[in-house]
Symmetry: C2
DNA sequence: TATATTTACGTAACTAGTTACGTAATTAAT
DNA sequence: ATTAATTACGTAACTAGTTACGTAAATATA
C-alpha cells in the first residue's frame, strides 16, 4: 500500500473501492461456506423481502422500485437481481392487481427456508465484523457514517471548490485605480451590464469619465489583479444624500476569474476605504435577479432597506452597511 | 440509509462501494472544474509516471507491470488505461531495448505540463479531504488503514469461520459411551483409518470389543453429539507402562461435522476424565501427515517426545500431556 | 373527456474494474 | 543446445453496478 502512503487522501475513492472488493471476495467465500445458494449481491434484495414477513403477516411482497429505494440501488439493478433470483426459484413475481405496471416480488417457500438458514450466517458475520471493528481505535463503521454525514452537509466538490477559492484568492491583489485601467474599468462594466440589462445614460457618464464623476468628487476605485492581469473593479462613490455617505457601485468581475473570491476582496477593500474616510455607512443598489451578488453583499454585512430614489431602471433592491465598531470587530 | 441501520455490518462491503462511487462522482466533477484533461481513473497511472521524474532525472519510464504493481491494479487494467492515455497524447510507449517484451510508458511534454497544472488541484483536494477527516471523531482514513491491517492479519473469512465454530460448538454435547454407540464407534474409526492408512489387527481388537479392551481395563470412551446425532468419539485407555498413565486414542470426527471444534471438545473431555482418575500424564500416538490432528493435540497442551514402542505401523510421532497444576490453570 | 405528465419497469449500452487465456520473449534446468 | 518454466502483456469475456431510453399504465390538468 505504499502508493496510498504517497498519494494520500487524493485516492480515497480508489482505496474504498479496493477495500470493498476485498470484502466482497470474502463474502462470496462465506456464502459458499454456509452452503446457502445465495449470491452476495442478492443479499440486500433478499433481506428486504425476508424482513417484512416477520412484521406484517399479510403483505410479504414488494415492487421493484420499492425494493430499489429501500436498499439504495437503481431500479434496473434490482430488476436484474430479481431475474437471477427467479431463475434460482428463490422468489416469484406477480403483477399487482390494482396497478398493472407494478411487478410484485415475494419469497418462495424455498426462499423462506433460506431466510431461516441464513440467520445463523448473519449472526456469525455480524459478530465477526463487530469484533474486528471493536479492535480498532478508529471504528470504520462509525467513521463511514460520520463521513457520509459530512458529505451530505457539504459535498467533496463543494469543499474542494472552497479550497480552490482560498488558494487562488491569495494570488489576488487589490490596488488603487490608475489611468491605464480606464479602458478596463469601462469595458468590464459594460460587458456585465449588457449580459443582464441595457446600458443606461447614467452608466455611461461615470464609466466614460471616472476621474470627473467618481475620483474628483471624493470617491475612489479599486482594481483586482490576478497574476498581474486586471480581473475586477469596484468603485466607492461619494453620495449627495444626508442619510448615506458613500455608495458601493460599478463592481464587476471577469467571468473567467469567477470562484476566486475576488468580489469579496473588492468589497472588503472598498469598505475599508470608506472607513478610512470616516464614513458612517455604505449604500448600494442592485437587482434581485443577481443572486450571487446579493449573496455577496449580504456576507459583507449589507442589509436590505426600504426604497430610496435611484436613477437606474435595473435596480429593485437597496442595501446599506452600517460602519460601527461592531462591524469592525466582526471582520 | 435506513437499510444499513437494519442490516448493519453485514453489508459493509456494499456500503463501502457506494461511498466510493459517490467520491468518484465528485472526483469527475473536480477534474472537470480544474480543466485538466485527465479522467479520474487515469490518476494513479499518471501519478506514478509523474512522480519518478522528480527524483531520478534519467529513468522516467515504467513498464505496464511495474505500474500495475505500484498502484495495486491488475496489469490488464493498466494496459487499458495506458491505451486511453495514449489516445489523449498524455503518454507515449516504446519497447524496452534489453527486454523486448516490456512496454515502457512515459509522459509526453503535454503530460508533463499537466503534472504541473494538477499540482494545485492535488493540494486543494488534499486539504479538503483532510479538513473533512479532521471534523470527524472517527477518522476514516486511519480507520481504513486499521481495518486493512486487521484483515491482513486475519481475513474476514477466517473470522467468520471462527464465529461459526464458536456458535456451533455450543450445540455439541459430550456424553459417556453407551452400548447403542458401539457400531458408530467402530465405523467412524474404520472410516477415517481407511482414508489415510490400512486397518491393522490391533485396531480391530479394540474397535470390536470396546468394553473388554478399553472400559473394563479402567479406561473410558466419550461420544460427541451434534443435534442429538453422534458425530465424534474419543477413547482414554489405561496404559500398562510405568512412565505413562493413560493414552488418548481412537479420536474420530465425522467429516460433515468438521469445523465445529468437536475435536477440541472431545480432547478436553478425555483430559478431564484422566484428571479425575488422578492421572499424572496422557500419552498419544499419531502420524505427522495428519496436520490438523497434530495441531489440535498441540493446542490441547501435548508435547512431542522421543520414540516409544508402538504396536501401530502408521504412527510416527508420540506426544505427552503432563497434568500438573500449571496445565489446569492454563485451561 | 381529451391531453399532458408522472410512474413503474424492462432493455440496452456503458464503466471501471476483474479473471482467463494465448503468445512472444526471457531465464532456468537438463 | 534443447527443453521447460517463467514473465510481460495484450485480448476477450465477465461482474456489479450505472445512466439513457422507450413503453405501458396511472394520475393530473384543461
Amino acid at each position: 500500500m505504499s502508493f496510498f502512503d504517497k498519494v494520500g487522501v487524493m485516492a480515497i475513492g480508489t482505496r474504498l473501492r479496493m477495500l470493498s472488493e476485498k470484502m466482497n471476495e470474502d463474502a462470496s467465500k462465506i456464502y459458499e461456506m454456509y452452503g446457502v445458494g445465495l449470491k452476495p449481491k442478492w443479499f440486500p434484495v433478499f433481506y428486504v423481502l425476508s424482513q417484512e414477513e416477520e412484521e406484517e403477516e399479510e403483505e410479504e411482497e414488494k415492487s421493484i422500485t420499492q425494493i430499489a429505494q429501500e436498499i439504495g440501488h437503481s431500479h434496473p439493478s434490482v430488476s436484474k437481481i430479481v431475474r437471477e433470483m427467479l431463475k434460482s426459484g428463490i422468489v416469484l413475481e406477480k403483477k399487482d392487481k390494482n396497478d398493472r405496471r407494478k411487478n410484485n416480488i415475494q419469497l418462495t417457500a424455498k426462499g423462506k427456508e433460506m431466510a431461516i438458514q441464513i440467520r445463523e450466517q448473519y449472526m456469525d458475520v455480524k459478530t465477526a465484523v463487530e469484533e474486528t471493528l471493536s479492535q480498532s481505535t478508529h471504528n470504520m463503521w462509525q467513521a463511514i457514517e460520520e463521513f457520509e454525514f459530512l458529505l451530505d452537509q457539504n459535498s467533496m466538490l463543494q469543499r474542494v471548490k472552497e479550497q480552490k477559492k482560498i488558494r487562488e484568492n491569495k494570488k489576488v491583489k487589490i490596488i488603487s485605480y490608475q489611468e491605464k485601467y480606464r479602458k478596463f474599468f469601462r469595458d468590464i462594466n459594460i460587458a456585465w451590464i449588457t449580459t443582464y440589462f441595457k446600458v443606461e445614460d447614467t452608466d455611461l457618464k461615470a464609466l466614460d469619465n471616472p476621474e470627473e464623476y467618481i475620483l474628483n468628487k471624493g470617491g475612489s476605485i479599486v482594481i483586482a489583479l490576478y497574476e498581474n492581469e486586471p480581473v475586477g473593479v469596484c468603485a466607492l462613490i461619494k453620495m449627495d444624500d444626508p442619510k448615506y455617505d458613500y455608495e458601493l457601485a460599478k463592481m464587476a468581475v471577469s467571468p473567467k476569474a469567477k470562484g476566486k473570491g475576488i468580489g469579496w476582496s473588492l468589497g472588503k477593500a472598498v469598505i475599508q476605504q470608506a472607513q478610512s474616510y470616516g464614513a458612517q455607512n455604505v449604500y448600494l443598489e442592485s437587482n434581485t435577479i443577481l443572486k450571487p451578488a446579493i449573496n455577496l453583499y449580504h456576507k459583507l454585512g449589507f442589509k436590505k432597506i426600504a426604497g430610496h430614489p435611484t436613477p437606474y431602471e435595473r435596480c429593485n433592491i437597496q442595501m446599506v452597511l452600517t460602519l460601527d465598531e461592531d462591524v469592525i470587530k466582526i471582520n
